[in-house]
Amino acid sequence: MALSRKVGLIAGAKYKGGGPMLAWVLHRISGLGIIIFVTLHVLASFLTQQMGSDLGIFINIIYESIYFQLFIVFCAIFHGVNGFRIILLDIWPRLIRYQKESTWLEWFVILPLYILTAYIMIRRFLAG
């Protein structure tokens, strides 16, 4: 532990990290979201496929909900695009100077992809 980490939630929220900080926070949250979803999904498909268990069907109902799916689609798209941005900045370290601009730029990829997908998913959900 190189740094002292006694930073409370409020002090952390007041830190003006801007776009890169938001990207870091969302990268972590979306990564955890994908881990929870994928682990549950592997477990549920194993239980339904191999044992025909009701528990698997119960877990399926949770993440077949449109709200959970909209969350997971956001997690996957954001984590992928932001991760790609991080890889690009790591390959060409000179681009770190434009880190802030890169986090704005990535939203021009994420938002159209996500809004289009979410629109089609919601329309299909409302149609039944």
Binding site: M1, R28, G31, L32, I34, I35, V38, T39, V42, L43, S45, F46, Q49, Q50, V73, A76, G80, G83, F84, I86, I87, D90, P93, R97, L116, T117, I120, M121, R124
Partner: protein
């Protein structure tokens, strides 16, 4: 702006996993692009909607496209896609649980609890990789 002088990296677990995270992340993006591309060639343009295609790109299992207008699944369920799925599970599980290890180490101090949590993450990694591959081979 002068850059920091960094010590020469040593081949330890952190450095190895730092590199692996980048490589596996790129691989997963490429596998998703492959899923979208080959999916479109196999007829996704008229037979799937965008949500289903995204689900297929996320993980190319034929169960993910059952709810669509594909007449025959032989293109979508075969050994090629099983190999792609096993690669995706291996890279995704290792990438993901290594990320979880990083989070655990960020929010805990070295000691008994950190060691236990790290061991738990290790068990989850082994468990979900093996169960995932078992499900892929069984579907």
């Amino acid at each position: 702006m002068r850059s920091r002088v960094m010590p020469k990296p040593r081949w330890n677990l952190e450095y190895l996993m730092w590199i692996f995270t980048r490589i596996s992340g790129l691989t997963l993006i490429l596998l998703a692009v492959l899923g979208i591309g080959l999916g479109l060639i196999m007829g996704a343009r008229t037979q799937l909607d965008l949500g289903t295609l995204m689900r297929w790109a996320f993980f190319p299992n034929s169960n993910h496209v059952l709810d669509s207008e594909i007449p025959d699944l032989y293109l979508w369920a075969n050994g090629f896609w099983q190999v792609i799925q096993i690669l995706a599970v291996f890279f995704a599980a290792t990438h993901g649980f290594n990320g979880l290890r990083t989070v655990v180490e960020d929010y805990s101090r070295p000691g008994f609890w950190q060691a236990s949590l790290r061991f738990l993450v290790f068990l989850l990694w082994i468990f979900s990789s093996l169960v995932g591959i078992y499900v892929i081979l069984g579907s």
